[in-house]
Amino acid sequence: MKRKNWAPGGGKKELRGKDEWVRISWDEALTLVANEIIRIQAKYGNKSIFVSGGSEIGRALTLFGGYVPSYGTTSGGSIHATKTTILGYTGYVNAMMSDRMDHRKTTLFVHWGLNSISSSGGNPTYNHLQNKKNGAKIIAIDPYYTDAAQVLADEWIPIRPNTDHAMVLGMAYTLITADDPKPNPLIDWDFLNRCTLGFDKDHMPTGADPKENFKDYVLGTYDGTPKTPEWASAICGIDAARIRSLALEIAKTKNVGLGMSSATARQQNSDSWTQMFYTFGAMSGHIGKPGSFTADGYYHQNFSGLRCLVDIVQPGSSGLPSVGANPVEEKAADVWTALPQVPGTRLCESWMWKAIADGKYQAVKGQWRDLNIQMIYHGGGAKLQTVDGMSDGIAAHRKVEFVVSQSQILTTNSKYADIVLPVTTPWERDGGMVIAGNREFGLIWGQQVTKPLFEAKDDLWIAAEIGKRLGVDATKIAPLSNAQLVYNQIVGSKVLKDDGKTTEPLVTISDNDVKSLAEAGVVVKPQAGRVALAKFQELGFYQVPRKPGDNFEVVALKAFREDPVKNPLPNKSGKLDIHSKTLADIIESRGWSTIKPIPAYNPAQEGYEATFKDFKAKVKGEYPLQLYTIHYYRRSHSVFDNILTLRRAFPHEFFMNPIDAQARGIQHGDIVLIRSRHGKTIRPVSLTERILPGVVTLPHGAWVEMDEASGIDKAGADNIINGTVPTGQGTSGWNTCNVQVEKYTGSIELKPDYQWPQRIPIKEA
């Protein structure tokens, strides 16, 4: 469909997001899109075309001379560059967490920011419940008494957002000052000395200034500020006595699981936090031992069994050949190659809307280059809704000459587009492999349950059709059928044998299978495997049964602890870098902020300290509350927000402590106006003792609904409140924001969300 007031060149661009829709044919839509791509490329060049997501359209545009992509820290936050550098494992690869069977030996779990039940789908919380039934104690450190804490926590330690680092520094100080080898050994010196670099002046990396060691930073030897529990308490808000006793409890307990969720890294200036967390895990002796682990990234896969270190079920490749490099993208310099996201011609996501709106971007530090984006192509995803700084995003969308979006529903990407191309869901296609779940439940064969609804088409088909109209070789875009891509993955899947070492193919392909698939145009070879193809198809998934003591148990980093020379970490030094000049250089080169090579505390731009006009005198400023954005049952990020039963179940309320409400004359259920430096939104407020006073939370992902006259978003979209504030590695700091809240007295009438009309652009007659 196309926007009513759109015309080639943009038409009435200011109507994007509020125009009416006109249904058009596929041929017309594809031709209009291709003609605009050709026109814009001829007039402004390939660097004027921005693609926000979806790999398929990128294939067509790469063959047509390239496009500008983006890079961002998304779910993993600042874990990405930090972990890759100091440990050698990329953000989502949780090689740090031991197998779930090993968790049964753990007697104490300490969680920084873990709300597994609402942010790690599936059964991680159920798995934790088994640990609890086994007698383990679970401590939750979080600004909010979460739903997971309600079920699991033996103790809740409320903490101000963005201050975990300060807390753990206070804990490190406790161990360093109380440690005594004979009567009171608290520090795992053996591990620190053999497996890490930079803890003290005698174990520094080559060339580093010995004065720059971590221990002396904690003690304040050179900066005059000992990082005592009292120092930490003034920042994080936790009683100094509890900071001290928790440090001792962790150091004196043999089997401890230390976990940080990536929520604690989706924060401004948090680049050193992951390093701080692993440093504390190392010094307290909880890395690489049975029953003990130190691990970030509590994703759905990880907590019900480490997924990435040794998958018991290993999916095959789809075999879709690459179309080659994007010609617009510059070659990465060496310093970036180890990282999952590479700038250069890429736009930093927490700056990209501003870059498009203002026509400038920072490639690397100090290199501000002109940028003239005239086309935004949303090949998938929900970036306009889910990236911080949505007000800048809307401005960017109303500036360019052309916006296209592919989606199944009227996402915010599509709402602000000129032409929307309807795409199929996995259930309307020939099927697909869902590679999710945990390591023993690697594959789900999603199978077609309906022919495409209405006129929806597959992404790859759309890319090929646009490619044809652009005059590129469309056979390169979609060289294999969807069915062939799916069967390639199935046939190539492997499963570990009971010995835990060798693999065999997951499915058996018989001669009959080969014949019948050939009739459907799919080419496979016969092979012997664990289950018959028909059986796998009937089940739809494959799961390996587990029992304690089987050969699939893995203790993360055990081999590294035993012999770091023979089994080094896959980073540059081979050891855990408590001092990393490389990391400091990476952060420096991105040009947003700087850090020290050791994990020094780095207050967030819009963190606790920034709620004050005068921090020392404790005089609050214009935005005195800290806001962060919890994950919410109503949605998975922004997905499913159109569903009325979910809107009925979860009203997308704003959470505030009654103490903060009382000071503002606010009652439970009132409509409140939430203001930040970046935008305004209104929501019904839920007053709850479950949140630390001074902290408020607006759940993540609600679909924006701007009241254009007042500039107020009615839906409570987190990214209207969160601004364009890149720090460090270009981190999107969704959990860092200062706000003020008042009772809303304006003229907008706010009905409960479930009574709102759904976003349905064109009703069938």
Partner: protein, 207 residues
């Protein structure tokens, strides 16, 4: 004694996700406004200030999933002037919508708010224990949807033998009113019905 079906609700592990509520609506094709099963959040406690820092003082919360309790003493059946409501041999309380005139007396009579009015159809509706699924040997939709395995169903005598006889915690009404066929495993911070120090934490529009 004839078999009587009932639910076991394990509030001690309920994580407030409302998968049961939404799965029920989905399976029974209910409009957003009608929820045969609901989850209520109850909590309280306070905070004390010390040196500019706030310390929690007995902050707690827990969730309770509830639906029609298929009671021993179903006030809804007694209140129905047309005989549309009945208690079946297996103890399940059902409504015959052909006989219902939509007077809503049952809604007022039930302390759990189990019978709910369908405005579009002008009749009452309520939990039917997924009788169609039971007939096929399957579990009610709410039971299978729970990621914490917190809902179980079966003969109430067996459930009581396994989990005890508690059928009331805040904010549910006293069990003495209707003699509900439910067993609750209370949360570690649960408070007895009628003695609570907390409050319902949901927004009114949520319930």
């Amino acid at each position: 004694m004839a078999k009587q079906l009932g639910f076991h609700i394990n509030s001690s592990v309920c994580a407030n996700c409302k998968a049961c509520q939404v799965a029920c609506q989905d399976k029974n094709n209910l409009p957003a406004a009608i929820r045969w099963r609901r989850v209520v959040l109850y909590g309280g406690g306070g905070w004390v200030e010390k040196d500019g820092r706030w310390m929690p003082n007995g902050v707690f919360s827990y969730s309770v999933s509830f639906a029609c309790m298929h009671c021993e003493n179903p006030l809804c059946v007694q209140a129905c002037p047309t005989g549309a409501l009945m208690k079946r041999a297996d103890g399940v309380v059902l409504i015959n919508q052909d006989q219902c005139v939509g007077c809503r007396y049952c809604e007022w009579a039930c302390p759990y708010g189990a019978p709910q009015f369908n405005e579009a159809k002008g009749v009452m509706t309520k939990c039917n224990f997924c009788e169609d699924l039971l007939a096929q040997g399957q579990n009610p939709a709410c039971v299978d949807a729970c990621p914490m395995r917190a809902i179980e169903y079966g003969d109430i005598a067996e459930l009581r033998a396994k989990y005890g006889t508690l059928a009331e915690v805040e904010p549910l009404p006293s069990a003495s009113i209707t003699l509900p066929h439910a067993v609750v495993t209370p949360h570690r911070n649960a408070q007895a019905s009628g003695t609570g120090t907390g409050k319902i934490m949901n927004l009114p529009e949520e319930l």
